[in-house]
């Protein structure tokens, strides 16, 4: 196993360079210290109760050496880290902007052509992108190990980061700043696509490339939507309690709402709750769900409802 993850951005290799440099230096010092420690321990192991030991209280030359040499090396590490950091923090002028909004516990990406996606980030191969990010509720952090990028998202301010994806493929995106119950489910995928595939996706010719394959049944498609849009962070499918009501046996159930009324869960209620989640909130749950208006198409909502209906 390679100890660093796949390097898939223009500066990933350089970050690895810093990592390698510090690690090799650390190993050298570690070996030096450990070898001396073990060597001294056995060489000078007590033989008799009255072993002769010299009265050595210090040695100025030695002490100066081991103050100055580490200081110089530490400065070199600092400078090396700084140089790469500078590059990581300076986006090129032609970088494409993507707006990122994080909220408990989903990622929302808005692109310049007006498209928006949830928990899926589409970027073009070898084209620098700049994330302009903000958080809706609490702190989150945008972390893609393969790109070696990380930046906190803070409510009330914009933060940014950039990267240039250099390998076509699919990569994991994690939330790295603790944000509550669904923190470890706040995952997304980054799709790095060839220019051709990306422009097809941009024009919307090929429906979402990866998602819509008409050969699938509505339930199967709904299941895909369920896992891809971050529903799982709040709504379980096994009946266990989450941040939102479970989907298991939800359809047809009578739910009591916060205003005291009850409602039978049917297609219309499900659809309304996806598009205007705050309209009728089930008692005992916080009104924290985001709207999926403009994010899910009608077909996708149909599929999702079909999937919920299938969970008996």
């Amino acid at each position: 196993m390679n100890w660093v993850p796949e390097a898939a951005s223009s500066f990933a290799g350089k970050v690895d360079g810093v990592l390698w440099f510090v690690t090799v230096l650390s190993i050298v010092f570690f070996i030096l210290i450990t070898v001396l420690l073990i060597y001294f321990s056995f060489k000078y192991k007590r033989k008799t109760e009255n072993d002769y030991t010299p009265y050595i209280t210090g040695n100025q030359t030695l002490e100066i050496i081991w103050t100055v040499i580490p200081s110089i090396l530490l400065f070199v590490i600092f400078a090396y880290g700084l140089i790469v950091y500078k590059e990581m923090r300076t986006p090129p002028g032609d970088a494409v902007e993507v707006n990122v909004t994080a909220k408990q516990w989903i990622w929302i990406f808005k692109y310049q052509n007006g498209k928006s996606t949830i928990n899926e980030l589409f970027v073009q191969h070898n084209r620098p992108v700049k994330m302009v990010m903000r958080a809706d509720d609490v702190l989150h952090s945008f972390f893609v190990p393969a790109f070696r990028v990380k930046q906190d998202l803070v409510p009330g301010m914009y933060t940014q980061l950039w990267f240039n994806p250099t390998k076509i493929g699919t990569y994991d995106l994690f939330c790295a700043e603790y944000c509550g119950t669904g923190h470890s489910q706040m995952l997304a995928k980054v799709y790095v696509m060839s220019p051709e595939a990306f422009s097809r996706w941009e024009k919307g010719d090929e429906e979402e490339t990866t998602t819509f394959a008409s050969t699938k049944s509505p339930e199967e498609l709904g299941k895909d939507m369920y896992s891809k849009n971050g529903c799982a962070a709040c709504h379980s499918i096994d009946g266990s309690a989450g941040v939102g009501p479970t989907f298991k046996a939800l359809y047809g159930k009578n739910e009591s709402l916060q205003d005291g009324t009850t409602i039978e869960v049917d297609e219309n209620y499900l659809r309304e709750s996806i598009l205007i989640p705050q309209a009728k909130v089930v008692q005992g749950f916080a009104p924290s769900m985001p709207s999926f208006k403009g994010i899910l198409t009608d077909e996708e909502i149909d599929a999702l409802i079909a999937y919920i209906k299938s969970l008996k």
Binding site: F30, Y44, T53, I56, G58, W66, I77, D137, E177, C179
Partner: protein, 534 residues
């Protein structure tokens, strides 16, 4: 070396002179207060350690199967808060410091014995508040970052209030120690003859005094944010969430040194005794403690490299962070040089001291990874940080603490520990610790974020290894606890000075009499005069 010591004291020891509940909970004797702290922190260590075992068990598989994600979040919050605020911060300083400072400087007690008892009561009050907080425990992580900590509907107020009260206790203890060390040294105990453990506690006390009020006001503001609706950290009201992080780390980074410096002091005491050599570079070690204490106030923002601070700030704080590594490196080399040409005895206390050197080196060196800006961007908030922190906190502080327990046990309780059992326990602790935490460096580099209740399947094998390590570590701890308790009853009676140490605390009876010394000793030399001159 000191004169005026009393080898043949027939008075009852501080343990025996009086018994009963009142004689303990109303005692103003620093040695008894030390024991009270020792018992209290041990209880919290066991609770927080058990929580860690549950967390590791949950992480044995990628899915949630033992506890729900919310419970997991509560668990890591409690584990962190208890370990940091209830165990490590008061750990060596309040328990061993209380016991040893007057003994080592040749005084009869600390400067303000009643205040000392008051500090302990404050600790108890803090602990009582914490117990109430457990009824509906917070899920914020021990760092209480806003705005989450201001918004979550778990009980953050009680937990922070408990920590606030502990902060008071910590401040008063630090104040007491500083005055004691300044004003109550025995005749002839000049600053440059002070044992290095005292230097370490002196530096620690300065940190406690300067840093703790700031975390106090920060937690108070957080409580006000939740109760009065003030908005310093709330972006909706014009506040700044990152301000909280700045305030929090302004305390909590120095607090890291509040935790580690006392352990460094312990190592400086144990190594010379079991090497029969003077400590190498006394002044360098003493002053580097003070240097670390001062520099540590200017590095807090290295926890915020990706939090949204300016580039300039990040660069400055990275630089200062590397600066604080220098005095630490100096200490490690000095300790190594102390072993050179010594007569090394592998007492169980010495084994812990040597493992401190080994593990703390790993913890220190991996600190360079997270101090370097570019690398930190990748490693921040991953398991790499978790591993680094535990190598410093367990590999450093806890190893120092265990070493100190094994070293001063005969003086404290008048009984010898079972050294063989001590070594067996050490073996399990050492192996278990490394198996638990070394894989976490790799997990972090691979991109595994911390504070995750569930994780991706690709991390599973290393996670399993880490969990297995936690079991080995637990076995070691159980053996050690057994040894420590068993020896109280069946341990051999300890001689006054079993290791032929030159330090003052060994020149009185074991356990010491109530007033520590029959007559206040007159100090004529430092306590590291081992080996033959010339």
């Amino acid at each position: 070396m000191a004169t005026g010591t009393a080898a043949t004291i027939s008075e009852p020891s501080f343990l025996e002179y009086k018994s009963g509940f009142r004689s303990w909970f109303y005692t103003t004797d620093h040695k008894r207060i030390g024991i009270l702290y020792l018992v209290s922190i041990s209880i919290f260590f066991i609770i927080a350690g058990s929580i860690a075992i549950v967390m590791r068990a949950e992480l044995f598989t990628p899915e949630s199967n033992i506890v729900s994600p919310h419970t997991y979040n509560v668990l890591f919050t409690l584990h962190g808060s208890l370990m940091v605020f209830f165990f490590i911060v008061p750990g060596i300083s309040a328990s061993l410091g209380n016991f040893l400072i007057p003994l080592m400087i040749g005084a009869r007690d600390v400067a303000f014995p009643k205040l000392n008892l008051g500090s302990y009561w404050l600790y108890l009050i803090g602990a009582a508040i914490l117990l109430f907080a457990l009824l509906e425990p917070a899920d914020t992580g021990w760092t209480f970052y806003t705005p989450y900590s201001a918004k979550t509907n778990t009980n953050v107020i009680l937990l922070t209030l408990g920590i606030f009260v502990l902060g008071f206790s910590s401040i008063l203890t630090g104040l007491n120690f500083i005055v004691t060390i300044h004003k109550m040294r025995a005749p002839g105990m000049t600053w440059h003859r002070l044992p290095l453990f005292i230097w370490a506690l002196y530096s620690t006390a300065i940190l406690q005094l300067l840093a703790t009020p700031v975390v106090g006001i920060t937690l108070l503001l957080l409580i006000a944010e939740r109760t009065l609706g003030i908005g310093f950290f709330d972006p909706d009201k014009g506040g700044d969430p990152v301000l909280f992080q700045n305030f929090f780390w302004f305390y909590s980074h120095p607090a890291v040194y509040i935790m580690i410096i006392p352990a460094m002091g312990v190592i400086s005491e144990i190594l010379p005794v079991f090497s029969r050599k003077p400590i190498f570079g006394y002044k360098a070690i003493a002053y580097s403690s003070v240097a670390i204490a001062i520099i540590s106030f200017f590095v807090w923002a290295h926890h915020l490299f990706v939090a949204g601070i300016s580039e300039t700030a990040a660069i400055i704080f990275s630089f200062l962070t590397f600066l604080v590594a220098v005095p630490t490196a100096i200490k490690v080399f000095n300790w190594l040089a102390t072993l050179y040409k010594g007569s090394i005895q592998f007492h169980s206390a010495m084994l812990y001291a040597l493992s401190f050197l080994f593990l703390f080196t790993v913890g220190g060196l991996t600190g360079l990874h997270v101090g370097a800006l570019a690398a930190d961007i990748h490693l921040h908030d991953t398991y790499f940080v978790v591993a680094h922190m535990h190598y410093v906190m367990i590999g450093g502080t806890v190893m120092g603490f265990f070493g100190a327990l094994h070293f001063w046990y005969p003086k404290w309780f008048g009984k010898m520990l079972d050294d063989t059992l001590g070594k067996i326990a050490w073996f399990f602790v050492f192996i278990g610790f490394n198996v638990t935490f070394f894989p976490q460096f790799f997990l972090g580099v691979q991109g595994m974020p911390r504070r995750y209740a569930t994780y991706l399947p690709e991390f599973e094998s290393l996670m399993k290894l880490s969990t297995i390590g936690s079991w080995i570590l637990a076995i070691g701890m159980i053996i050690m606890a057994y040894n420590l308790i068993k020896s109280l009853y069946s341990g051999e009676k300890a001689p006054d000075n079993p290791y032929n140490s030159l330090s003052l605390e060994w020149q009185t009876s074991s356990p010491p009499i109530l007033e520590n010394f029959k007559e206040i000793p007159v100090v004529t030399d430092w306590s590291y005069g081992y080996g033959k001159k010339g």
